[in-house]
C-alpha cells in the first residue's frame, strides 16, 4: 500500500496480497480481540451536532456524567473519529452533511442515533423537512428520550462497547 504502485510487480499484485495478509492476520482471535478492545475503549465521536440534543450530549462529557471514563472523547475532525452520534432531529439539509461526514470517516465506524427525533421523528414527526437517520445511515444503538439523560447516552456507549467486543457491531463487518 505504501509504495502505491497498483501495477503487478514480478511477484503478482502486491497490494492485493498485502490486503489479504492483513485481513488474515486480523481474523486471528488474539489479535481480533485486542483490536476490538482497543476500538471499544477509544470511541471518539466526531464534533457534529445535528439538533437540540447537543445540549445533553455536551452534558455527557461534562464533569457530572464524565464520559471520558470510557475513553469517549468528542474530537474534532471526521478523519480521526470512529463514532458519529446523530443528536436529535435530522433535517434534509443536515442529512446531506451527515452522509458526507459519515463517508469521510475511516473504516471501522459506528453510528448512534440519540433522541426520540432520531428514532422516528419524535415531536416533529409530521414535519416536511425531516429525515429518519435509520433510512440513510447504518445505526448501531438508538437512545430514546427527548432529550435523553446523559446517563442514557453513557449507557448507549457501554452497549456499543459490548457489541464491539462481541464482534456484532455493523461497523466491524464492512
Amino acid at each position: 500500500m505504501v509504495c502505491g504502485m497498483s501495477g503487478s510487480m514480478w511477484i503478482g499484485d502486491l497490494e492485493r496480497t498485502a490486503r489479504k495478509a492483513a485481513r488474515w492476520l486480523v481474523e486471528r482471535t488474539p489479535i481480533r480481540s485486542l483490536r476490538d478492545w482497543g476500538i471499544a475503549f477509544s470511541l471518539w465521536p466526531v464534533h457534529f451536532t445535528t439538533a437540540c440534543c447537543g445540549a445533553e450530549f455536551a452534558a455527557t462529557s461534562a464533569p457530572r456524567f464524565d464520559a471520558e471514563r470510557f475513553g469517549f472523547l468528542p474530537f474534532t475532525g471526521p478523519r480521526q473519529c470512529n463514532l458519529m452520534v446523530i443528536e436529535g432531529t435530522l433535517t434534509r439539509k443536515m442529512a446531506d452533511a451527515a452522509i458526507w461526514v459519515y463517508e469521510q470517516m475511516p473504516e471501522p465506524k459506528f453510528v448512534i442515533a440519540m433522541g426520540a427525533c432520531a428514532l422516528d421523528g419524535g415531536i416533529f414527526w409530521n414535519s416536511y423537512n425531516i429525515v429518519r437517520p435509520k433510512d440513510i445511515l447504518p445505526v448501531e444503538v438508538f437512545i430514546p428520550g427527548c432529550p435523553p439523560r446523559p446517563e442514557a447516552v453513557a449507557r448507549a456507549v457501554i452497549e456499543l462497547q459490548k457489541r464491539i467486543r462481541r464482534g456484532e457491531a455493523i461497523g466491524l463487518k464492512v
Binding site: 445535528t50 439538533a51 416533529f124
Partner: protein
Amino acid sequence: MSEEEHILELLIGPQHPASGHMRLVAKVDGDVVVSLRPDIGYVHRTVEKLAETKNYIQIIPLVERPPLADTANHNLGYVLALERLLGIEAPPRAQWLRTLLAEMTRIHSHFYGIGIHGIMLGSSTAFMWAFWDREIMIELAQRLTGARLTYSYMIPGGVRRDLPPGFEDEMEKALRYLERRIPDYHKIFFDNPVTKARLEGVGVLRKEDAIRLGIVGPNLRASGVPYDVRKVDPYCAYPELDFNVITREEGDSLARVMVRVGEIKESINMIRQILKKMPDGPILEERYLKMIPPKWKDWMAQHRRIKLPAALISLRPPKGEAVARVEAARGEAVYYIVSDGSPKPYRFRVVSPSIRNVVLFEHLIRNCRVADIPAIYGSLDYFPPEADR
C-alpha cells in the same frame, strides 16, 4: 494577482468544532476575514407549520424543544400569549413559581453560553466548570418539575406542580455555593491574560448599530441600551422584585460575557427574594380548579401537584389574536397567536432571540482575524436550533 485569487472561501460547515448547527461561509484573505455569511436552516424543523396541526396544550412541548438550554422562558412566553387570548390570569402563587423557574433557567442557560464560549476560545476548564455549575441548577429544576431541561411546567391558567418539601434550604445552599464559585471563574477565565487578549476590543457592537439591527438580550445590553422586557413590560412577579438591568458600554465580546455573569448574580438575588416573598394559595386558576372532580382534590393536595383538567386538552380560545414578549436568557422572545375559535391555532408565529441576533455574524465578523470567528460567535450565545425553529 487579481483580487479573487488571494481570497480563500472557507466553509466552516455544520461539521466543525466551533460552528454549531450551521455553516459559516467566510471569505478569508491571509489571516484576515474579509466577509462572513451565516448559512442557517440546518435545524429548521417547521415549528410554525406543526403548531397549526396541534392542540393548544400540545404546543407547549413543541415550543420548548428549539431553545433547549433555555426552555422555561419560552414556555412562559407562549403561555402568557395564550392567557391573553383566553383573557384569564394565573393565581399569584403560580405567577411566583413561574418567575422562580424562569430565573433558574436563566442561570443555567447563561452557564451553558459561558461554557460553549470557553471551549471555543480553547479553555476546556471554563467549559467543564460552567457545565458543572449548570448541573446544580438543573438538579434543582428537576426536583421542582421532574425533568432536566424540558419542563413543560407552565400551563394556561397556572403551573403543574408546587414546591417540593425542603426546596428552600437546598436552593439556599446551592445559591451560596454558586456565589462562592463565580470569583473562581474570574481568576481562571475572565481575568486570564489570554482571555483578555482574545476578547477585549473584539467584535465591537456600537449602540446605534445594535438598535438599528434590532439586536436583543445581553448582546444589546452590552452595547449600552438598558432594554430588558422584565422592566419595560413586566410580567408574572417581576414588578414586586427589585433587580437592576446589567448594562456595559464597550459592546465588545468581553462586555457581552460580563453582562451574562452580572445577570447570573442578579438572578441569584432574585431567587432569594422569590423564595422569601412567595405567597401561598392555589397554583391553578379557580375556573379550571372547579372542573377537577372532588375525589382528585386530596390526591392533589397530598402530591402537591395538579391533575390536568379535561377542559384544557381541547381548549377553544375565542376568535382573535394575542402578542406576548418575554425576556428569555438569550434575549427577547415574541409569541404571536392568531386563533379562529378552533382547538388548533390558525397562525402561530415564534420570533426567538437567536433569529434576531443572526445578523450580527455579518455585521461583527468583518476584517477581523480568523481566530476571532469563534471568539465573537461564542460571545453572542447563539443557539442555531432556536434560530431555525
